[in-house]
């Protein structure tokens, strides 16, 4: 089978993988700062609706719609960062899950989002090159960011917040920035999703989706953005790969999840990470 036919038969899956990779990266940014902030799906959802509405109701061209959507997601992240600034660990996780649920309910109940019936007819003008181009840009940006002092501050914050504060790291700023950067990336993913898949429902970015993103990141390696992407790619493909198992797919995916996490608790990235990091 040549590349062209392969693409024709799997282009939707390929697009999904690209967007999922972006979502995984958005969570990875927070996880690297040691923040279990589970609101990325909600940020993506906000951006998806904003981008769609901007294009459909206000006639924004694609680039403008996406830009507005990213801004909306980043703004939501900034707004969320303040009330949760004192929360850590599971408490932060639950607070952000709660935020996600509130976003879902709002999307379900207001008219402008189409409510439970969903929003259809979104201009379908995002193509695979656009998705992967965006992914590449974000990856490059994160690589560049990894060489800055900010990245060091992030690492110190994750390992020991008090020690980090002790050496002069502005922990509050690190947490805020990581949440907003993660939110912006999630926003990009959401906006791309809206224009690539042209139909949105409130449950598209609910807790189930957030749980998925979390699983990708942990399977790939909590502190490794490359791991997050690998996790997203492998787990996005998994349902189709094990499709021949028919009735046993559900059981198999549960066992695979369990097996991987028990054998490599620190994530698949440990398989290629340098020792002693």
């Amino acid at each position: 089978m040549n590349l062209g036919t392969f693409y024709a038969q799997h282009s939707r899956l390929i697009d999904q993988i690209g967007i999922n990779a972006l979502l995984a990266l958005s969570l990875s940014v927070s996880l690297q700062a040691g923040q279990l902030a589970l609101a990325q799906a909600a940020f993506a959802g906000i951006a998806a609706y904003v981008s769609a509405i901007a294009a459909m109701q206000f006639g924004f061209p694609l680039a403008a719609a996406i830009a507005v959507a990213i801004a909306a997601a980043a703004l939501a992240a900034a707004a969320l960062a303040y009330p949760v600034r004192k929360l850590r660990g599971i408490f932060l996780a639950i607070a952000t899950i709660g935020f996600g649920e509130i976003v879902r309910v709002v999307a379900n109940n207001v008219d402008i989002t189409g409510g439970a019936e969903g929003l259809s007819g979104i201009p379908n003008d995002v193509t695979t090159p656009i998705i992967y181009g965006a992914l590449l840009l974000v990856a490059l940006a994160l690589v560049a960011l990894a060489r800055t002092k900010f990245a060091l501050a992030v690492k110190l914050t994750r390992e020991d917040e008090n020690a980090a504060r002790g050496v002069g790291v502005d922990v509050g700023m690190v947490r805020f920035a990581s949440l907003v950067i993660g939110g912006a990336i999630a926003g990009l993913a959401g906006a791309l999703y809206a224009h690539a898949f042209y139909f949105l429902t409130p449950t598209d970015f609910g807790f189930a989706r957030m749980e998925q993103i979390l699983v990708w990141c942990v399977i790939g390696g909590v502190t490794s953005p490359a791991g997050a992407v690998v996790g997203a790619v492998l787990l996005s493909i998994l349902p189709e790969v094990i499709r021949p198992l028919a009735d046993y797919r559900e059981l198999t995916s549960g066992l695979i999840l369990l097996g991987v996490i028990l054998f490599v608790p620190n994530g698949l990235s440990m398989l290629w990470a340098k020792r002693g990091v």
């Binding site: 660990g89 639950i94 709660g98 879902r104 549960g254 999840l257």
Partner: protein, 292 residues
Amino acid sequence: MLAQQLLNALFLGAVYALFALGYTLIFGVLDILNLAHAAIYMIAAFAAYSLVADGLPLPLAAGLAIVMAGVIGILLDRVAFAPLRRRNAGTLVPLISSIGVAIVIGAIARAVYGIDERHFVEGGLDATPIHLGPVTFTSLEAIILATAIGLMFGLSYVLRATVLGRNIRAVAQDRVAAALLGVDLERTIAATFFIASALGGAAGILTGLEYNAVSLDLGSQIELKGLAVIILGGMGSITGAVIGGFAIGIVETLAVAYGLSAWRDALTFGVMFLILVARPAGIFGARALRSA
């Protein structure tokens, strides 16, 4: 009508509280959020149903199913959490492995029981309504409420007055110190999982009885609501879980009573969010599991 709504809230809240107790117990002792709890809640209900369908009297079937749920809890720990504890994997990784176990339990339930809704009593419950002034309820609901409250008192007693309870509280307070003081860590943790899962299973069985319906999606909503309950009450606090359960029951019921049914979940999580922001320890945060 308000009286009836508050009674509705009471019945709803009792089951939420019972469910949340299992959540909060495991969190208090191990700092882990056990996302397989809702799956155990569901499969215990199916187990009780199938024992009743095989002819066992309900109390015996329920008792056996509750014990089975406890055993599954111990297995859950052995398979999904203990290996990670040995490798010091932190608190996020066990959350993922609990998701894996939840998926497996769901797949097994579907294979064994199928996708159809099952009913304890075919043809509908024949519970005669009792009228007590402005409120109406059935004898079954009263029994369910009494059972839930009884189990909560039972848990409180175990934690306060038994050696096991003391050990559990010690491990919750400081695992290392408890070990140094001679507490058998692994046995205490296993016992904690047994109790927590048994309570979760009991909640599932009572839910199945209350609505005469056992289905694969029994735990779909309570999983997240349980989080709101334990946050409200305070993580690791038994009394908190109970109060939190009733509080969430009231928030939900009043939301519907005042025409805000579509916003019900937003209100529940909104209240939870406010508590987290204003008083992260929850209503009873100061009195955590350590002091039961």
